[in-house]
């Protein structure tokens, strides 16, 4: 299916103002004055960018808030339409889904946000300096996980649906704006543009080591981790902004008869993270916590969820006050002779 870009944009504005389709809010990336993209509540068509690359804030912040009451849980009755989601964030959402909605337990607040939100992803048409999904089994476009996907081919979007929620959304579009069938040459254009973005990513990241042997990181010389973590100040910015980090602190805020529990983000980069009562900690040193983050993303999460915990969004690179580049650290450690030696063990 095909929809005209300007038709869609002006329709999005109507969705929010007239609550079409029952949507209470439309959220999409907006370019701020200093040039950054942030998810924001739609306010006119100015500066919105559905295409481009991922926003500064991770998609998780729309489903798993930095601080949220979890008991008693209230159903989120706000119905949301989120657009401009990139594949790195969709992949991350798959990990969060497995972590929050599984056979052991269901996080009711997360589940409620998920159920009441329609996700419209869009192919990346640009890449940021830190983007590296191609290194970690990813692609700059989605082929699953979305409700609707938009592929920009100039003045039109090629629309694909991926769920019943997505089909409902397209039905809504149909009621108000013209939707036509896509043709072979449109699909060809999508393929070409996707390839073009992928080629740019490949060129940008050609010096870095891609996933495949990341499990070897476990065996790397500890001294390498000490060297790499020298400029880490343990601020936890990387874990807060990571789309797959979901470690939480649970606070009890009971003031009356009913128990009240509030969860907020925690960071494994802080010293108190794994410290138990009495003071013992499995990772008292900064380099141990630094190493733990890499191993969690690249080996432990793979064992827990069947996929890498890094989706290549590069936000941890942008946020780091110590200018630590995740790709460089992995590559240097992977290329060190000792790490590779372990391959033959």
């Amino acid at each position: 299916m095909i929809v005209n870009v300007s038709h869609l944009y002006s329709f999005l504005k109507r969705i929010q103002s007239e609550r079409l389709g029952g949507f209470d809010v439309v959220i999409l990336p907006e370019r701020t004055e200093n040039g950054n993209l942030f998810y924001t509540r739609m306010d006119g068509e100015k500066n919105i960018e559905i295409d481009s690359y991922r926003a500064v804030d991770p998609l998780k912040s729309l489903f798993y808030f930095p601080r949220e009451q979890i008991l008693p849980d209230k159903n989120k009755l706000v119905k949301r339409l989120v657009l401009g989601v990139k594949n790195c964030d969709l992949t991350a959402l798959d990990i969060l889904d497995k972590a929050m909605i599984n056979s052991d337990f269901v996080d009711p607040v997360y589940q409620s946000w998920r159920e009441n939100t329609t996700i419209v992803s869009a192919d990346c048409t640009e890449i940021s300096d830190s983007c590296h999904c191609n290194l970690v089994d990813g692609k700059p476009f989605a082929d699953k996980g979305y409700d609707v996907n938009l592929s920009n081919i100039g003045s039109d979007y090629v629309i694909k649906t991926g769920s019943s929620k997505g089909e409902e959304f397209v039905e809504l579009l149909r009621k108000y704006i013209p939707i036509s069938d896509d043709h072979a040459d449109d699909r060809e254009k999508v393929r070409e543009l996707r390839k073009k973005t992928m080629r740019r990513l490949e060129a940008q990241n050609s010096d870095f080591v891609r996933s495949g042997d990341y499990f070897l990181l476990k065996n790397a010389d500890i001294q390498k981790w000490k060297d790499e973590s020298k400029s880490c100040v343990g601020c936890g910015g990387c874990t807060n902004i990571c789309p797959t980090c979901y470690c939480l602190i649970l606070n009890d805020e009971t003031l009356s008869k009913d128990f009240v529990k509030v969860r907020s983000y925690d960071s494994c980069q802080t010293n108190g993270y794994a410290r138990v009562a009495g003071g013992a900690s499995p990772r008292p040193k900064m380099y141990e916590r630094f190493r733990n983050r890499y191993l969690c993303k690249l080996t432990i999460m793979k064992e827990n969820f069947g996929r890498l915990g890094c989706t290549g969004c590069g936000r941890c690179i942008d946020v780091c006050p110590g200018k630590i580049d995740f790709r460089e650290v992995i590559s240097r450690i992977m290329k060190s002779p000792k790490t590779q030696e372990c391959n033959h063990d």
Binding site: L71, M100, F105, V106, E253, T254, K261, V276, P282
Partner: protein
């Protein structure tokens, strides 16, 4: 709708037993009982303060009330030690895996509890006593730093009278002004004093990390096998359900894959003793 995993059950403190200067036992009455299997743990809430993971020290056959023995060692436990009889606290759970006591039928069972590690092992001990006919014998090694730190003193005489039950206790040292007529040595040295054929004997170890570590090494030296040594992994089990990730070590969550692991399962993981 599915149950909120953080749903907490109110409980009233019925009795407080001061076990030692730092350890007290709370006997609580739950608004609705929480059935558990020995080895499993619960999260105990002090309202508006926080919660922490504790293993009940009562038998899992006891359903009218639950006893939890707690050492004052951190933020939440400081408030636990400020509670009074009649106070309302919260409990949720049970979480984690239990001791596979069904597999131990017909066997000698060895339990080593050091310090406040005597608390969760007392739950196991009392549970085994309930079906004592099922086991060949139960040996409970109890260790504390000093006589004043030894908990459950008031129960020992009755336990010692029970056929097939052996209680051996030790303290690391006897400070001036305290008296002690039993062993003065590290708890791990008590292994030299018991007469058990180690083959096939399940051993449960719970105590401070250093005792778990050297206890395990000594057990191996005495011929007990890796897959029969049950260790309580002390990790920060914040949520209890595998969500918060604080207790992850290697591929395991201490809270849902444990907290009890046999040594053969965890021996290759990093920092298991810390």
């Amino acid at each position: 709708m599915t149950k909120n995993p953080y749903q907490t059950t109110p409980a009233i403190i019925q009795e407080i037993i001061e076990e030692s200067p730092l350890i007290r036992t709370l006997r609580v009455k739950l608004e609705t009982p929480i059935p558990f299997k020995t080895g499993q743990f619960i999260e105990l809430t002090i309202p508006n303060v926080g919660e922490g993971p504790f293993t009940p020290s009562s038998s899992h056959y006891t359903t009218d009330w639950m006893e939890i023995t707690i050492m004052k060692t951190g933020f939440v436990t400081e408030y636990v030690h400020k509670t009074k009889v009649g106070d309302r606290i919260g409990i949720r759970g049970p979480y984690g895996t239990c001791y596979p006591i069904d597999k131990w039928k017909g066997k000698d069972v060895l339990i080593m509890g050091g310090g406040v590690g005597m608390a969760p092992t007392r739950s196991l001990f009392l549970t085994l006593l309930h079906d004592l006919d099922n086991y060949r014998s139960v040996t409970f090694l109890m260790g504390a730093k000093t006589p004043n730190d030894m908990i459950y003193k008031y129960l020992i005489d009755d336990w010692k009278k029970i056929d097939k039950v052996h209680i051996v206790r030790s303290v690391d040292r006897v400070p001036e002004g305290e008296t002690w007529s039993e062993n003065v040595c590290l708890i791990t040295k008590l292994l030299d004093k018991i007469n058990l054929d180690p083959r096939g004997v399940p051993v449960v170890v719970c105590g401070p990390p250093v005792m778990m570590k050297f206890g395990t090494f000594d057990l191996l030296k005495h011929g007990f096998s890796e897959e029969n040594i049950y260790l309580s992994m002390e990790k920060k089990m914040y949520c209890g359900i595998g969500q918060c990730r604080h207790c992850v070590f290697g591929e395991y969550y201490a809270c849902k894959d444990g907290p009890v692991f046999t040594y053969d399962k965890v021996k290759n993981e990093e920092n298991i003793w810390e």
